[in-house]
Symmetry: C2
Subunit: 301 residues, 2 copies
């Protein structure tokens, strides 16, 4: 891994772990079991890609990393809360029925199914409480509402949840490339794109800057799913913390199954080149976003 | 039923049915099955108590019913979206495992378990999109963020979700009255209380008015759960649209099982008298809230 990328990721990762832990500990639910289940899945060591993208997009506009991180703290945490809830529910027996996630038992395995459903519900609801709690930090409360609305739209029945529903309905059925792309855009790319957009909005990006950064987010989001499909074929289960080959096992349509491995690798590279190209009008402020684009292409988990 | 109450409920009910239908149809998910499942549970003819309380609280301050209803439209819809999501998830096999709700099959029975989990997730997320979409209507966006935060807090891991978790953990176990009250306050009363508070906040209630209306909401919320426990013993399954006696069957602690029937009826009356008393400084503007208090005591479903 590029040493700049490694240093950058390590810095963001530690910052996010602290921010997320503080966020959960301060919340303190009257049900210790619920809190433990939320903690189990949230602190299982994810990549924190969505919060990091949010902060990196703000950095592109503010041209100052620490200011950007501080400004985005609650929105960035909320994006990870929403991502974690979606993983808990996706892993349930009625969905993908997975036993392992990030190398440890999935929430319903470590606790039970009812607790896992409620832990997901709690994380999703708490994400909105967390965003609303940052009201005092932002000069323009109307902007915060806009961000809350954008994130809800991207995560809800017109975004991520619709993607998961289409994914369930596609199992064991032959689907075409166009349908697969729609599914992935909704299931994965929508939340990644809104992570970039929310950071940019918070930092006061102009409409033109927003257009470039939205394009970056949507291309990167799709690239992320394409590399996810690749990793399911070529990845190392130990590095990924979950079984490989699960897509083939559950007869899921993937890019490699539709296009073949080589063409899928080219597609991932093309999408990342497009994402990098959308940043061409930005200076060094966008270097973190550039590093993250190369990370998505090169990642091993 | 008091004819004023019947007229009032019929007016609000029709208005809410139209508002909810419009809200769902406008949303239009790319997954028709997801949208159908959301529609199935949302339009199954609930009492719409939470939105009506929100609008009645605003009416108390504005002293004009139509202005209050219009001002609260999106927040009122969102409260019903959140309530409906909680019913869908509570009915799941991993929770209460119910087959009927409001006289029709529960969501996982009419569709399947995965779809029901996702329909609940979608309704919850869409509630926040819906609230955020009312930004242009409110002069003070900071107030709308405060309301979003209050609703998320009351519905999340410090509110309703914690209550459902404690409820699951209490099945088949003997619990004391204090624990039962905590459970009910979280599971049921928190969302009812915030329904009243959000309407009052939207209408610009003073801190003193807020104090009285919060007290009304918390007493009414607890009374609602007490009468729910009573209906499970004494109610007519046909009127309720679900089986009676299900609490006893699943060995759930209830007020009648702890205090006996007569003492539970007295408790419900006392709570409602307290709720009415908290409205004593308000004029005729609070008459709708007064009617709703008597409704909670006299309801048959």
């Amino acid at each position: 891994m590029n040493p700049d990328l490694a240093t950058y990721l390590a810095q963001c990762h530690q910052w996010m772990e602290d921010a997320l832990k503080e966020c959960l500990v301060r919340m303190s639910s009257p049900s210790p079991r619920l809190q433990a289940a939320m903690f189990h899945s949230l602190m299982a060591g994810g990549k924190r890609l969505r919060p990091v993208l949010c902060m990196a997009a703000a950095e592109t506009i503010l041209e100052n990393r620490l200011d950007a991180m501080e400004m985005c703290r609650e929105v960035a945490c909320s994006l990870e809360l929403i991502h974690t809830y979606s993983l808990i529910h996706d892993d349930l027996p009625a969905m993908d029925n997975d036993d392992l996630r990030r190398g440890i038992p999935t929430c319903h395995r470590a606790f039970d199914e009812g607790t896992a459903i409620l832990a997901g519900d709690a994380l999703l609801t708490f994400a909105f409480e967390c965003m609303a709690s940052s009201k005092h930090k932002h000069k323009n409360p109307g902007l915060l509402i806009e961000i809350i609305g954008e994130i809800a739209r991207s995560a809800g029945p017109r975004g991520m949840v619709a993607g998961q529903m289409l994914d369930l309905a596609s199992e064991g059925r032959k689907i075409e490339r166009e349908e697969l792309e729609t599914l992935h855009k909704l299931k994965t790319a929508a939340l990644i794109e809104v992570s970039v957009k929310s950071g940019a909005l918070l930092a006061g990006a102009s409409p033109r800057q927003m257009q470039s950064l939205s394009l970056y987010g949507s291309l990167l989001g799709l690239a992320f799913q394409v590399t996810d499909d690749l990793l399911d074929v070529t990845g190392d289960p130990l590095e990924m913390g979950k079984a490989a080959g699960s897509d083939a096992q559950s007869q899921k349509a993937t890019y490699p199954s539709l296009l073949g491995l080589e063409a899928t690798q080219s597609l991932a590279s093309e999408l990342i080149l497009g994402a990098l190209d959308s940043l061409k009008d930005f200076g060094t402020g966008a270097d973190s976003l550039r590093l993250l684009a190369s990370y998505v292409l090169e990642r091993r988990k």
